[in-house]
Amino acid sequence: MTLLIIIFAVTLIYFSITERFKTYAILIGLQGLMLFGIAIFKLTSTDLPNLIFIVSETLLFKGIIVPFLLFKIIRENKIHKVHNKAIPGFYSLISISFGLLISVILAKSLNNKNVDFLYFTISLFSLYTGLFLIIGHKKIFSHLIGFLIIENAVFLLSVAIGSEMPMLINTAILLDIFVSVLILGVFLNKIGDKINDFESEKLTKLKD
């Protein structure tokens, strides 16, 4: 199980150096599958119906449906690579590594017996990575990926804190499903029709 969470952290680092959106979609799918494994091992104390709900959400929704929708967006809108104005891979790697260091220090300083240190660290690291993708990239698709990573951070934090509070995890899942469907829906149905190259710079008509 520790191996799974470490691989999860590696996928986060990989986000910083890859430039292809297909790789982004694959990594998001992989993260979903890893969260499925984590949920199975970590939440053994949870009652069966809750466990089935959590496991099916991670496997079906995060591991299969979301990556499928991401590939659909990539295919239909012919977007392949991150913007050339995005922060170069080398600097991204340094920044992401710095984020990992900060996450470890922060998690250590906030040591709490009710919180699993390793999960807490990776959750903070996921939050950092998600925000980094939103701030550092120009393409809206990258922002979408950043948001999905933040959702994974919320899920990990709920597992770290609430392994004995299934309702907390279920609510976090509600966030996942509800918001992902909403955002991906807007993306699939509306944005792609009107904004061809998915650059956030095209969304600047509303300003003072």
């Binding site: 300083s109 906030l110 709490n112 009710n114 919180v115 939050l127 939103i134 809206i140 922002h143 948001f147 933040i150 959702e151 951070a153 919320v154 934090l157 709920s158 804190i161 609430g162 004995e164 509070m165 299934p166 309702m167 907390l168 609510t171 976090a172 509600l174 966030l175 509800f178 918001v179 909403l182 955002i183 807007v186 509306k190 944005i191 009107k194 969304l203 600047t204 008509k205 509303l206 003072d208």
Partner: protein, 475 residues
């Protein structure tokens, strides 16, 4: 009763979408307004009672529920005028979204649990998105995308805050994460966790309260959405954000160290909100964006009032009540002005007083109310905030606040006076103006009349309920 209310709401919203008939939708909307008012009366009669375990008819909920009922009524009236020439499909989706939004807001006000409140706040995002995207323009798409995206990030942040707070509870189960149960626990909890909780909650719900730093979503949404929707968002939706933050504030205030820290954070956020609002209002050339920045200014004042404490708590509640009525009225009126000018651009508007005196006087009254000039009731709430700041020796907040409010007043007066009395600076639209019946301004006059009335007389029941809402804050 609450369960029946939610079931009826869902049935009405679904029926509007599937029946797909204009008259049916119109009647359904009017029926829903009647149900909302009836439910409000029921809530008043069952004050402080608990329904469905997770909902309480407590003082803050009653205050905001009553505001919702009043503003829903006026918004429905203006919506039905606005939707007269609308396509059938858009008409129905608008009505269904307004019903779902009102019910979600009701749920958010009444919830006594952090997670249940969060679920309803999340639900408001979906309904509002439909209303913001109503006009189907590129700007509407941009505003909707930004709103949905940033609110989703904000809501995720707020949930992280809830998780941090729940980490202070040792395996008690979520059913016990009510505001009341948490209040007992936080007194001895790790202050660092509580501070992180507050920061996440404040950032997350600032999307709804339109407070710095996530205020931009509200600005864009208000400037693009139909004017009456802007009025609804700027009043009752802002109140959702305020109440969600306020309830967590009360819980965390049980820890003395955290209370002091939260006060400083709120005052800082308030001053920064005022700074951003003043800066952008001075350069704003869009009438609705100007009103949206005015909302940022007012929620900044409310944050400062809450932060300073003492009489400031009362001022915060009075200010948010009065702001709700004033801002809704102003949005309705600016929306009517568009029917003459076919634009919200400042340079393409002017001479409104000659064109439509009834609307112009309403706008002038709204200007007096929002700038807190007597006889506006907002003068009282701002005066109380100043008093609280001076008596607590917070000169470092008081001085910039007064300076920034001066800039805000200047910006508002220059722009609204231009709209009322000056010639348009650019050629106005060649499209024939749509005449507005003066009767359509009555709702604005009524809302401003409430604000002016409360300057002179604050009825005992209002004082009592505000005092009960703030009585739960630990001293």
């Amino acid at each position: 009763m609450l369960l029946i209310y939610f079931i009826i709401t869902i049935i009405l919203a679904v029926a509007v979408v599937f029946v797909n008939n204009r008259t049916f939708s119109k009647m359904t909307m009017l029926l829903f307004v009647a149900i909302q008012i009836a439910f409000n009366v029921f809530a008043l009669q069952h004050y402080n009672s608990i329904e469905l375990t997770y909902f309480t008819f407590d003082a803050p909920a009653i205050i905001f529920l009553t505001i919702l009922s009043i503003i829903l009524t006026t918004t429905t009236y203006h919506s039905l005028i606005y939707l007269r020439r609308e396509y059938k499909r858009r008409f129905n989706s608008y009505i269904a979204a307004l019903i779902v939004l009102s019910a979600s807001i009701t749920g958010a006000y009444l919830s006594n649990s952090l997670t249940v409140n969060w679920i309803f706040v999340e639900a408001t995002t979906l309904a509002v998105a439909v209303l913001i995207y109503h006009e189907r323009t590129q700007q509407a798409l941009e505003a909707t995308w930004k709103y949905v995206f940033l609110c989703s990030v904000g809501i995720a942040m707020a949930y992280m805050g809830i998780l941090f707070l729940s980490s202070t509870v040792h395996a008690t189960g979520t059913s016990r994460i009510t505001y009341q149960s948490m209040a007992e626990i936080v007194a001895h909890a790790n202050p660092v966790y509580l501070k992180i909780t507050f920061i996440f909650i404040l950032i997350g719900y600032s999307t709804k309260m339109e407070l710095f730093p996530m205020h931009t979503v509200g600005i864009d949404a208000n400037s693009v959405a139909p004017a009456q929707v802007g009025g609804f968002i700027s009043s009752v939706m802002v109140n959702v954000g305020f109440l969600s933050i306020f309830r967590v504030y009360i819980v965390l205030a049980n820890n003395a160290e955290v209370l002091l820290w939260m006060s400083h954070v709120l005052m800082l956020t308030g001053v920064l909100s005022l700074l951003v609002a003043a800066g952008y209002m001075l350069k704003s050339t869009h009438n609705k964006r100007m009103l949206a920045y005015s909302t940022l200014e007012n929620v900044g004042i409310i944050a400062i009032s809450l932060g300073v404490g003492g009489i400031g708590y009362y001022a915060a509640f009075l200010h948010i009540i009065l702001h709700s009525f004033t801002k809704a009225g102003l949005f309705y009126q600016v929306g009517q002005s568009k029917r003459y000018f076919h634009s919200y651009e400042l340079n393409k508007t002017g001479n409104y007083f000659k064109l439509f005196p009834a609307g112009a006087i309403a706008l002038l009254l709204g200007l007096i109310c929002i700038t807190a000039i007597p006889p506006s009731g907002m003068f009282i709430s701002e005066f109380m905030t100043f008093k609280a700041l001076i008596s607590s020796g917070n000169w470092i907040v008081f001085i910039p606040m007064v300076l920034l409010l001066t800039f805000v007043m200047y910006a508002l007066f220059v722009r609204i006076f231009h709209l009322l009395f000056s010639e348009p600076l650019e050629p106005i639209s060649l499209i024939e103006p749509v005449k507005v019946n003066p009767v359509e301004t009555i709702s604005q006059y009524m809302l401003f009349a409430i604000v002016i009335y409360l300057c002179f007389i604050r009825p005992p029941f209002l004082n009592d309920i505000i005092n009960q809402a703030i009585a739960v804050i630990p001293k």
